[in-house]
């Protein structure tokens, strides 16, 4: 089972990495270009991704592959979805507040938008650019990975009081 997860995600990554390089797919870039010049080229890709994902989840839930698709429009569903991905800083005593999740979602969304547009692309695009030999993007993903490891002991103490 663990081999399936590793091999499956590796294969997924290779396919989307290849397609991302050939297409220039970028979520932040799509929204940025639309705000700047009403250019829909990249945004169409983002909308296609969202539409297909929505249709896919709908199909999966109707076909019975996925449990509880519609339940996720509830508050408890949102909390589950958030907390399942943030084990480190949502342990028992910090797993309570909806307001905490709302605040962190707003702060996180604003921060990602601001710093991604300053870095000229979403994390996915930066991975693709790093593979193309862009040394700025290589520096970006080194910082990105450093933060992934350092988050638990560097950032978490500051936000666990929120």
């Amino acid at each position: 089972m663990s081999l399936i997860i590793s091999a499956g995600t590796l294969g997924l990554g290779i396919i989307i990495g290849y397609m991302g390089q050939r297409s220039g797919f970028c979520t932040i870039g799509g929204i940025r270009n639309f705000i700047l010049t009403r250019d829909m080229h990249l945004l169409k890709g983002v909308l296609a991704f969202f539409t297909v994902a929505f249709a896919g989840f709908l199909f999966a839930s109707l076909a019975g592959y996925q449990q509880g698709f519609w339940a996720f429009s509830s508050v408890e569903g949102s909390e589950t979805l958030y907390n399942a991905c943030t084990n480190p800083y949502s342990d028992a005593e910090h797993n309570d507040g909806l307001w905490r999740i709302v605040i962190l979602t707003i702060a996180g969304g604003f921060g990602i938008g601001l710093f991604s547009v300053m870095a000229n692309g979403c994390p996915f695009r930066q991975h693709v650019k790093a593979s193309e030999g862009d040394s700025g993007a290589v520096a970006y993903i080194i910082g990105f990975y450093f933060a992934a490891i350092a988050f638990g002991f560097l950032i978490n103490p500051f936000i666990s009081g929120v």
């Binding site: 997924l12 290779i14 429009s73 994390p123 990105f144």
Partner: protein
Amino acid sequence: MSRITPITAGIAIGILAVAAQRLFDEPQAYGVCIACHSRDMLGWIFNNLLSINLVDVTTAGLFAPILTPLGILIGAHLAARKNNIFSMPGQRGHARMFLLGFLVMVFALLLAGCPLRLLLRIAYGDMLSVFGLIWMVAGIAFGITVLRRWGS
């Protein structure tokens, strides 16, 4: 296959994101996420190499490394090599890019996902993520203003 339109790429990533969900039970809507998958990949490697619990990973990444970011690097590199656009020009501003990467990861972990997973969560029916998207668009607009005023 030389160029692919972003629409084709978006459709393919959407299908794969839903299909990849079959690999994990928990967390849900986790098929594609650059930030979380990077955290799980590096967390698994560090925790297992050093035999300590340095990085907390999700239940999906607990027993096996999730290799999506590595796959993206390999896949994009293959595409760049195949089409002869791989080059390493000398660049400046690496400290700035390092800092931006650091900050994006920190805020992505606060949000519990990169922009791709944010959209995936909305597609999954999570209304809270809509707030995240609205504020992300606000952040992009603010970032454009910052770049215009103070340059890149």
